[in-house]
Symmetry: C2
Subunit: 221 residues, 2 copies
């Protein structure tokens, strides 16, 4: 097959595709740094082109529109966030420990990728609606947390009420509350610094208070 025209074309076309993918990633990297300086809504394709060293129309060879760039940022961000969340949960083992490790990793990622986190979880661009496909990692995240809650109940770390949507919403409120306050009031500080992010473990302890496990060994009552 070596001298068939098809293969002769195939190899350089692979290279071209790879190079193209690299350019796409570079555009998204630059877009992220523009958002860091100008805010999520301050993203402009002209500015991206300027920093990439090309003319603005060239961007349109890679993305159909500004909203397409937002959608790619959303998709890439969602996937990256899910990856660190899942890795932290898996490393830590099941149940409550996995939940704690997951939200801690999630918080760290959000602080380190502030504008992306805002795009994902606060929706500051009114004209941007993420595509349905972009939302599948979000469903996966919910699934992981839901399973961790169920495991915690099964292991007797939490009461049966914790295996519920309500508990899931409580977790999301607590995590987004901590991160939101940190991003709004201490945007220059890292994870673990400042007045808010160190409070996350304490706040998650309240899950135990809200859904007290039945005493396995001799205890009160």
């Amino acid at each position: 097959m070596g001298h068939l025209p098809g293969t002769q074309v195939a190899i350089p076309s692979d290279r071209r595709a790879r190079r193209r993918q690299e350019t796409i990633e570079e555009i998204l990297d630059i877009a992220e740094s523009v958002m860091t300086e100008a805010g999520v809504t301050g993203l402009s394709l002209s500015e991206v082109a300027r920093r990439l060293g090309v003319q603005p129309p060239s961007i349109y060879k890679y993305f159909d529109s500004l909203m397409a760039v937002y959608d790619a940022l959303f998709r890439r961000g969602q996937a990256a966030h899910l990856k660190v969340l899942a890795a932290a949960m898996e490393e830590q083992g099941p149940g409550l420990d996995a939940l704690l490790a997951g939200v801690e990793a999630s918080g760290q990622w959000c602080i380190a990728h502030a504008p992306l986190a805002q795009l994902l979880f606060w929706r500051p661009v009114p004209t941007f609606e993420p595509s349905a496909e972009s939302m599948t990692p979000s469903a996966e995240m919910v699934h992981l947390q839901r399973r961790a809650l169920a495991d915690a109940v099964a292991a007797g770390q939490l009461g049966p009420g914790a295996d519920s949507d309500e508990a899931l919403y409580l977790v999301s409120i607590i995590v987004s509350g901590v991160i939101g306050q940190a991003l709004a009031n201490e945007p220059h500080l890292g994870w673990g610094e400042g007045r808010f992010t160190p409070l996350l473990p304490k706040l998650l302890d309240v899950l135990v208070a809200l859904y007290p496990p039945r005493p396995a060994t001799a205890g009160r009552r």
Copy 2:
């Protein structure tokens, strides 16, 4: 009308001042509704002028710049929010009840004035820094909540650790978490509807779990 020159000028100048103030308030009302439709960063003085029925340059007779409009919105919003918060707390009586009534009223106001709340508490406009004077109602809000916590401790509703900055931060994390999730995920729902805002009382109950009151020594009911 009197024929003294002073009075002849004074009365119409009062009217003029009042009319001017009305126009300023109208501009801010319109600016708020523009933000409701276009997002906080979507505010444009041209659009405000269009809806007011004047040409864009006329706005500059009332505000020096776009940022001056943001600052006025911030100041007016801060004052309005403080007013409903303080009224709810005072009506309810001291201690934990005042705190609960206050955050409930605060949440209601934020949902009803979503873009203003975002401007006040999430800072989505990177180039806008509120003036120092605009921040004084915020300090007053902190003072009210801090006093409610102290009263709750004195009344034996909470343990002594609740009279602290930490407890204050926990309250702000919880409240902003509930409101932030509601605004991002259920922007069309009112207070008490949806998956998040009904959870606020339950989340504030955790203050009692985190700072348990001393059993018998103090705090008679």
